[in-house]
Amino acid sequence: MYRIVRKKVLNPTVTQMEIEAPLVARKARPGQFIILRVDDEGERIPLTVAGTDAEEGTVKIIFQIVGSTTERLNHKDEGETIRDFVGPLGMPTRTESIKKVCIVGGGVGCAIAMPVAQEFHRLGAEVTSIIGFRNRDLLILEDEFRACSDRLVVMTDDGSYARQGNVTAPLKEMLEAGETFDEIITIGPLVMMKFVTLTAKPFGVPVTASMNPIMIDGTGMCGGCRLTLNQDGRRVTKFACVDGPDFNAYEIDFDEAMSRCRMYFNQERRAHEQTCNLFKNA
């Protein structure tokens, strides 16, 4: 059992929790993820580590309430426990020889992008962060990003806060103005990552995308998290849980990944509705 030490509502659909898991806290590096199970009958879901406190033995997670499991998790309070919490899984984000980085985060993906930005900042790299949200109400972690970025651009789709538009707009402007980066790291919805990649391509800047596919064990056993890379004209199957979650974005078949992540769309929506009704009646 793993205790919820702190819980904070970041916006109406996004919650932050700090979970007591000393072994994971000691090991986890930015870019890695954990798998949790809320209760005995729960499913296993992967969530990226949003920060750690090795001394306190806690791991920070930030999640969006999108389905039955995250709904159940969100109903847990400080002091309560969750059944399973295992990690750190996957490979950490590569930071070597990157002196100037652009982090492009979208929505709840910013929760994953934040520790990556912090790590680059800590290592002394020059950090540009571009973070985008649908609207003002969904904005999260602005202060945290400001603290670890040399330059921060905030975008909202509807213009209800900061600048209106997609994250690709300021990225394109920077690149067109002759700005260069050792690496662009993009974390967020698949469609956003696809367009960040397309935006960067003409300028030849390396792009890494952090993938978050459907997963069960997270240790390289089930193969549910597989994705296809196009490498030198060959299609190569990779497993996000052990080979990733970060991949060279130019090689990723984003369209296939977008299709695969909707495999259980209807079943999940039904399950979420049932769970919501359960809590309503309780």
């Binding site: 072994l23 994971v24 090991k27 199970r37 009958e41 729960g42 499913e43 296993r44 039955s68 499991t69 059944r83 399973d84 919490f85 295992v86 990690g87 750190p88 899984l89 069960i216 064990d217 240790t219 390289g220 056993m221 089930c222 193969g223 549910g224 597989r226 994705l227 296809t228 199957t237 497993f239 052990v242 078949d253 296939e256 299709s259 695969r260 909707r262 495999m263 259980y264 769309f265 209807n266 079943q267 999940e268 399950a271």
Partner: protein, 469 residues
Amino acid sequence: MAIIPSKHEMPTQAPEVRAHNFREVALGYSEATALSEAQRCLNCKNRPCVEGCPVNIQIPDFISKVKEGDYESAYRIISKTSSLPAVCGRVCPQETQCEAKCTLGIKFEPVGIGRLERFVADWHNAQSLSAAEKPAGNGHRVAVVGSGPSGLTCAGDLAKKGYAVTVYEALHAAGGVLVYGIPEFRLPKAIVAREVETLKQLGVDVQTDVVIGKTLTVDELFEMGYEAVFIGTGAGLPRFMDIPGESLKGVYSANEYLTRSNLMKAYLDDPQTPIMKGGYVAVVGGGNVAMDAARTALRLGAEHVYIIYRRSMEELPARREEVEHAEEEGIDFRLLCNPVEILGFENPDDPRDPRNGFVDGIRCVKMELGEPDASGRRRPVVIPGSEFELHVDTVIMALGTSPNPLIKNTTQGLEVNRHGGIIVSEDGLTSREGVYAGGDAVTGAATVISAMGAGKVAARSIDEYLSGK
């Protein structure tokens, strides 16, 4: 007394009934049947059956006790060499091991050794209330990585000798392939839980949610005070065929499909973990895992289930009983067939059609057997122009696995072969001092009992290594 020429039949649920439920297929011998079957054992002098058993259960001795009606003594004889009697009685391929060597089998059908083993283990589990006794400790600590058949066997054998053993399991439940892989209808989860409980009574500490190679490394285990480590991490990355369409929605590895159904309980009515149910299902492969996946699909509500295998029935590697059960249940075997492409639904007029990208069919070619290959089996060759299509909604790839890379990648000096299997000596010792390994992590996909045998060998070696310290 005249010898009964045939094994007593194993009573089973009727095929038309069991195809729609997840309860155990084989129901087990009654006491009267067990007594009568035990009488068939000749108690011959040279005891070839013992040689045929990877863990050398003293088979004629336990059968003699069954003849006397002393089932508890029979159980004690089995459990002296096997940590998982109720499991082996159910899932061992006896026809190629102990029973293949049985003297009676030369003229008649061999003794139903596996069925008797199961009877004895079930009798013990139902009747015996006494907890296993925890032996006096010898002061040595051993870490076991993975709680599948090799890990549990190694842990059990060492605990009986007084070692303080901790088993580290990556998943949330102990049992490894016995819980995530083998379905309820072949090996009820309660039986695995009971065997794990017995190990705990012996003093074995089971830690779930710990991934060795990630949460802790092998080196850290030594720093924590463990003097030897056994690696039994089992199957790893699932293999695919590298044909077009394998990333379509509705294509599973058997590992994923079975894990969703077994470990995540998608076989229950209201699961939190989703799985695609119903429709037409094709399972590709011919091993036990393929049979398990096909029969699971049927029980989850599939209308029709194919097994597609590129060789013939003779080469089918699955346990004979599973193949027979699958046939009785109506699984459609398409032998000497090989998939070349998985076909997906695509609505040309509507890119937002929710059916787009889901499996719609499988294109196969027919095969014939040619010259024997390196394995001695006749190599299947494509018959030109034999392409055909089957309509299916789900495809399950049961083609085996490659060993898990997590420990190899984080343990310096641990040598692996070109398939990724950990290299061990005859004693189960790896290239690192104090580190032993066994099971699928060494051999690639094999059987429960061979993994148990490897766990046993390693336990003996670890005991020799540490008692010399």
